[in-house]
């Protein structure tokens, strides 16, 4: 039995339509069950366009003052203590004056003694123009449009470490080994990381989302001020307009969001 060209085309057309219809019916079936569901923002989320922290260095006097803040961050975020400086993982830590502010110190050995000897708390600056984001090939690190937080999506990180080369502040750490055995006390409410990913401070996005300030700010007892740079009436803007502050390596054009209150 031979089939006429015209008939063949008719059959082909009808089956194609049936095929398309069939696929869409199937996909409709698939999303059923969640078709009426949606994702919404927690109404408790703090509202801000560009989060920032000002660190009042005068209020950090004893080693305890620093340790309390660092422990607050590292304990809730399951940051491991590997015990080997080459493999150290850190979200917030201390650096000397000349390491924190090399451009300020350059060629000036006569800087005030209290600055020279003081440890400075350093963390990711959540740069407004972040080089780490520009070099990341997978968008595992990205800047949130809503509030300027430079986020890490550990699910996507391939461990290429471009971001570590790109960050001029050493704010990122690489997991050379499985960090799990080195976490002193696991916080079951926050994930850990795995071997082969990069991690850093995420500005406590999970706390901001439920209306809390970052853990380091909370633990600092007023020595760190958190707020929205885009809001002229915020506390941080008031502090920045009334006291002398500096930022780390501003000449690089990264536009950091972490400020250091130096003068009164």
């Amino acid at each position: 039995m031979s089939i006429r060209r015209r008939d063949f085309l008719k059959i082909a057309g009808v089956s194609a339509i049936a095929g398309i219809g069939g696929v869409s019916a199937l996909s409709l079936l698939k999303i059923k069950g969640s078709e009426a569901s949606s994702y919404i923002e927690d109404p408790k989320t703090l509202k801000g366009k560009r989060w920032a922290i000002a660190i009042d260095i005068q209020k950090f006097q004893t080693p305890e003052d620093y340790a309390r803040v660092i422990n607050a961050c590292h304990s809730i975020h399951n940051v491991p203590d590997i015990g080997n400086p080459k493999e150290e993982i850190k979200w917030i830590w201390t650096e000397s004056y000349e390491h924190s502010f090399p451009s300020q110190d350059y060629g000036n050995p006569y800087i005030q003694d209290h600055l020279k000897k003081k440890p400075f708390l350093v963390l990711c600056n959540h740069c407004d123009n972040p080089p780490c984001v520009r070099v990341c090939p997978t968008k595992a690190t990205f800047k949130r449009k809503s509030d300027g937080i430079v986020m890490m999506d550990m699910h996507r990180c391939i461990g290429c470490r471009f971001c570590m080369a790109g960050c001029p502040y050493g704010a990122r750490s690489f997991n050379w080994r499985d960090p799990r055995p080195y976490i002193k006390k696991i916080n079951p409410e926050f994930p850990a990381r795995m071997k082969g990913v990069v991690e850093k401070c995420t500005f406590c996005y999970q706390r901001i989302a439920v209306g809390l300030q970052p853990a380091c700010v909370e633990a600092s007892k007023g020595a760190m001020i958190f707020g929205d740079l885009a809001d002229p009436n915020s506390e941080i803007r008031r502090v920045l307009s009334s006291r002398y502050t500096i930022r780390r390596k501003p000449e690089l054009g990264t536009n950091p969001s972490i400020f250091y209150i130096i003068g009164g």
Binding site: G33, S34, S37, Y39, E41, M194
Partner: protein, 131 residues
């Protein structure tokens, strides 16, 4: 047929190798996966219901978890408004595993049966077993 004997022997060896896994497990019943739902948290519930229907969770939970991950990490949206209008925190550790508090008796049951190893647990922390 040239070399008929060799071919037949070859065929027998080939068939033997192909069906060897089946012969090995013949007669042995592989334990049926039995994900357990008798955790204290679930027993406390008046209406024992997951965020969506049982069928949907069975077939789509992996897709759902992927979508939740992207919504939370990339878009900063943390709440799931379910089909029935209820709100849930989209969190594997703080929502899913609060009810399904034994990974061994729940997740692993089917995952082991079908030999999949989801990498969720490389980073996410499972509840302590046997408490």
């Amino acid at each position: 047929m040239y070399d008929g004997g060799k071919i037949i022997i070859g065929l027998i060896i080939f068939i033997g190798i192909s069906i060897f896994p089946f012969i090995l497990t013949m007669g042995k019943a592989v334990a049926k996966p039995e994900p357990k739902l008798d955790t204290p948290e679930i027993q406390k519930m008046v209406e024992k219901k997951c965020v969506e229907s049982k069928m949907y969770m069975k077939t789509e939970h992996m897709v759902m978890l992927n979508d939740w991950r992207d919504a939370v990490v990339r878009d900063g949206l943390r709440l799931y408004k379910a089909t029935d209008g209820k709100l849930y925190d989209m969190s594997l550790q703080n929502t899913c595993m609060k009810c399904h508090s034994s990974k061994k008796n729940f997740c692993d049951q089917c995952h082991n049966y079908v030999a999949v190893k989801p990498y969720c647990w490389d980073c996410h922390i499972a509840p302590q077993e046997g408490t």
